[in-house]
């Protein structure tokens, strides 16, 4: 939300694809992961990166095109990557992270590790061929990967019913023999439980699983999107199912604790913004750095 305000006021120039409203999926899944598990995420990946352990200052630094950003300020919001936190990267190409996460799972299997890979994607990605190719290979080779579909009902500006013959993404597990579940993506405890089951089975060598989490994004596809494709009533309806509010409501005795967490989070973000803005801008000399990988 800080990024949203900063971009709106012209202070930040990065393009933004916000995941406000979808917090429970990122948090519920990442809470059961280790640092050494690897995730691949989408153009709408800020939430996943934070939940996986990405640090706020380098994330903000990337949005502000600062040299201290995760990608030296050269890649922007859609490509945040951090090996230390186990983030393979956000990705601007719909569906592209799926086979990449699959490759990480292959490496784990090859080395006999019990780490797992997680591919986050939206229901729009289900229409990409590479989604099906990846499920097929994951099933054939029993790779330790969790495919997590955040079904927020819209691929860019188009509702799911227009672009998916089966809007129930969990059904796509069946042709490949991949166990699948569909959960309320705005209930963080339910998401967490489903993820924990799938991840522990994958660690035991059971192979892939598919999890569909039904959720909603509060903002447009991108910041600046006029959102002519959905009604304000629909947005309001989903705002009433705010995952954060629901968690609070489930534990009324912990109200003070939640307040403290909210405050700490706000402070952390403010501090991250300040720190990021204090860094130097990405330099022109950096333009041609890392085009080729350096020798080991």
């Amino acid at each position: 939300m800080a990024a949203e305000r900063l971009q709106a006021s012209g202070i930040m120039e990065s393009s933004l694809h916000l995941s406000i409203g979808q917090e429970a999926v990122a948090t519920g899944v990442c809470d059961v992961l280790r640092r050494s598990d690897l995730i691949a995420t989408t153009h709408r990946g800020h939430g996943h990166c934070i939940a996986k352990g990405g640090e706020l200052a380098p994330m903000m630094g990337e949005l502000f095109a600062k040299s201290g950003g995760y990608c030296g300020g050269k890649s922007g919001s859609m490509h945040i990557a951090d090996p230390a936190s186990g983030i393979l990267g956000a990705n601007a190409i719909v569906g592209a992270g799926i086979p990449i996460a699959l490759g990480a799972a292959l490496a784990f299997q090859q080395r006999g590790q019990d780490d797992v890979a997680v591919a986050f994607f939206g229901e729009g990605a289900v229409a990409e061929g590479v989604f099906h190719e990846s499920l097929n290979i994951a099933a054939l080779w029993k790779l330790p990967i969790l495919f997590v579909c955040e079904n927020n009902g819209y691929a860019e500006m188009t509702p799911a019913s227009i672009h998916l013959a089966s809007t129930d993404v969990a059904a796509f597990g069946t042709p490949y023999g991949i166990p699948a579940a569909s959960v309320d993506g705005n209930d963080v405890l339910v998401v967490r439980a489903a993820a924990e089951r799938a991840v522990s089975q994958a660690r035991d060598g059971a192979g892939p699983a598919l999890l569909q989490a039904m959720t909603y994004r509060w903002r447009g596809h991108y910041q600046g999107d006029p959102e002519t494709y959905r009604s304000r009533e629909e947005v309001e309806e989903w705002r009433e199912r705010d995952p954060l509010a629901r968690l609070r409501a489930a534990f009324p005795e912990a109200a003070d604790h939640f307040d403290a967490l909210d405050q700490a989070a706000a402070q952390a973000v403010t501090a991250a913004v300040e720190k990021a803005r204090s860094w130097p801008d990405a330099e022109a000399a950096a333009l041609t750095e890392h085009v080729y990988a350096a020798s080991a």
Binding site: Y70, P99, A101, L102, A104, N136, I137, H290, Y292, A296
Partner: protein, 331 residues
Amino acid sequence: MKSLKYWQSINLALLEEMRRDERVIVLGEDVGLPGGPFGATRGLQKEFGPGRVRDTPISEAAIVGLALGSSMSGLRPVVEIMFMDFITLAMDQLVNQAAKTAYMSNGSYAAPMVVRTLAGTHLKSGPQHSQALEAWIAAVPGLKVVWPSTPADARSLLKAAIRDPGPVVVIESASLYTSRGEVNVDSDDVAVIGQAAVRRSGGAVTLVSWGGAMARTLAAAEILAGQGIEAEVIDVRSVSPLDHQAIGSSIRRTGHLVVVQDANGPCSVGSEIIATAASRYFADLAAGPSLLCPPFAPVPSTPGLQTSYFPSPDAIAAQVASQLSRPTENQ
């Protein structure tokens, strides 16, 4: 030294690198049990097992993405795309993903992967099994492309590609698969990517080529020698990065440049070589350079048509003779 066929050298390189480094794995269609459609991966699955040598479904996008993800996670995959024409199905993972992995992560990730593929083949398989698309890959920052024309280079360039810290596309010529050459099997011969080789010395003209067209270029040089014209033949070996300096040094001695390729002309590697030479080495050129390439049409499948499609030794020799007899600026 041992006389090996081109495909045997590829096989040897894979064997050596897989023995040397347990992170090296092989993926592709028909690579495991069948040993590859042309024998390049023969015997590998038997020695290293089905975990390290995997037969994949026909899913070019996913298998290149898989290779990328596994290379970001510590493996050194060598993925085979059976015919270069099929690389089109993997272009997102190659161009948008692998090529940019190091750049987009500011060096915190690398993609040490190899894509091996057969191109510019002279099989009778027609327009969708014969293309030389090296220009498409060479045009992308972050990707290296090599194309061996001898068995020794097939081994040394593949070894270099496997050991390279980034993504390398190794193009192989089916037309050269059974050609023989001397290979120094007792030495760990690893080429330097970006370094051309002078195959033949001469002072009259610089002939530049690579891959499958090399053999015909060398044959043209023999025809020219019979006419008293000694050609210098340069094998670029590395399509990207290109060794412009080697070409420039040669032009300084010969004053003439003729490039021979099996790929279509417009926006090609040959065009790139000529454009660079014309701007950097203009003062050394006695005449305008030439590009010998097929007509701007897809590759036909009939053998007879193919012979007139790809630049032949006679056509190459005729072009050189014509270029050398052109009036120069200074006359």
